[in-house]
Symmetry: C2
Subunit: 271 residues, 2 copies
């Protein structure tokens, strides 16, 4: 959503499919407790290709949602996806989170999922969201934290591959470990009462659908997807990266275990 950031997550069709798989696997974990009533509008910032917009629209069918992203192409893709899913309660606009085309206090609620991780100035972004939020209105923020990843069998190359992704995102001005920081960031942005709820994804051999949907097709696929940029940036040796991706896949086998934690923060703008 920043003018200056480069995207770690691309916009090619394979990446879009990956984001959609991820959304479907994680939907209950992340979205089940976000329900907006009929009435004043809800702003979703950084909607991307709509992976989170679909569950948002489905869970709040009577809410009027305005979803924005800095990318025209993403906004169009999101619009198609939401239309294909049969939802008519979302209006789409291209907009920059740092320069929102809305009036102060225009929205009853604001929602941002997997957005702050990409921004060099997350507190500044949150202050912009605070500005367009009505007093008493709610802000909901969901972020991952790649540094929360651990697994069995443990493997140094796998840890190095994850670390390469974290450093790559840092080079692009983002923070792949931002989940753990939501509480202090929101406090700094002027939200006095912040509630953070960690959402841990725990995958063992009793949950093969999660091993496939999350460990393999979401997390390992995401790491595998940074091979080119990570090697180009000299962040990791090719052999170590390959071994790391194999070792991550290995954790999805029946005797493997994989852990990752998302963080969901909710707060109200002081009245």
């Amino acid at each position: 959503m920043s003018n200056t950031r480069s995207y770690v997550h691309g916009y090619d069709p394979a990446e879009s499919q990956r984001l959609e798989d991820q959304a479907s696997t994680l939907e209950t974990l992340l979205h089940h407790d976000t329900r907006y009533p009929a009435g004043g509008p809800v702003l979703e910032v950084g909607c991307g290709v709509g992976a989170q917009t679909v569950p948002l629209a489905r869970n709040s069918p009577d809410a009027r949602i305005v979803s924005v992203d800095i990318s025209h192409a993403s906004v169009r893709a999101a619009e198609e996806k939401v239309k294909a899913a049969g939802h008519t309660n979302v209006e789409f606009r291209q907009a920059d989170i740092f320069n929102l085309p809305f009036s102060p206090a225009q929205f009853d609620h604001v929602f941002a999922c997997f957005v702050l991780e990409h921004l060099p100035g997350p507190v500044e972004a949150l202050r912009h969201l605070r500005e367009v939020l009505k007093p008493g209105g709610s802000l909901t923020v969901i972020e991952g934290d790649h540094g929360s990843t651990y697994f069995h069998p443990d493997n140094a190359a796998a840890r190095a591959a994850v670390h390469a992704q974290i450093r790559l995102q840092a080079l692009a001005g983002g923070d792949a470990n931002i989940g753990r920081r939501l509480y202090p960031l929101l406090r700094e942005a002027g939200f006095p009462n912040v509630h953070v709820s960690p959402r841990m994804v725990y995958v063992d051999g009793s949950r093969p659908e999660l091993a496939d949907g999350f460990t393999e097709r979401t997390f390992t696929a995401m790491i595998d997807g940074i091979r080119g940029p990570a090697l180009d940036a000299g962040l990791i040796e090719a052999e170590v990266f390959e071994e790391g991706v194999r070792a991550l896949r290995r954790t999805a086998e029946p005797d493997g275990v994989f852990c990752y934690t998302f963080f969901k923060a909710t707060c109200l703008k002081p009245g």
Copy 2:
């Protein structure tokens, strides 16, 4: 509980106090869903100085509990602690988990908390527990995982200090990261239907009592307590260790965040 292991956790009074503080802070998180009925006896292995025995006895007042530890001194301390807490449903014995003085299938339920992490042969230990369990009886295992630790502000020295503890425990034949392995370990020990429930401790500025009770007085105190052995073993430089402990304390301040995950596994012996 092994004949051969050296203890990372000592038996001095300060350490006992630390274990007691930890038990009180974590009691609800770890113990609330363990309730044994009146009837056949429950075996607690590795009771130590009784930090977990007190909540166990309190939550299952009608159960007959037999608590054992390999250390005579610990068993005596545990007996005093449970007596002082007013519970009369626990019988104490000195016993080695690898050579239990019980008959096969003698117990309706078996409980082990913070025990496997110390053992060079956790699967063998679990097979011994399986042996004394009745068919259809339950086994409950709780372990921490120091590798699940992450925090804000992130700090390399703090990570190094935690890693020194993990390596120290490995040198003593244990595994401080065993929590994530409970599922495969229990499967390997002959329990076909294992349910593992992660119990994450998330501490931010809205939970000052947890920052004090867990981040400071449990986790940081535990790391601080290995200074001597970690430096003696050459696992970390003194200055790095000191900086790491300071950085861990720093995460307990109002804008800090601390995350740690325990794992609780339950399973039944096939009938």
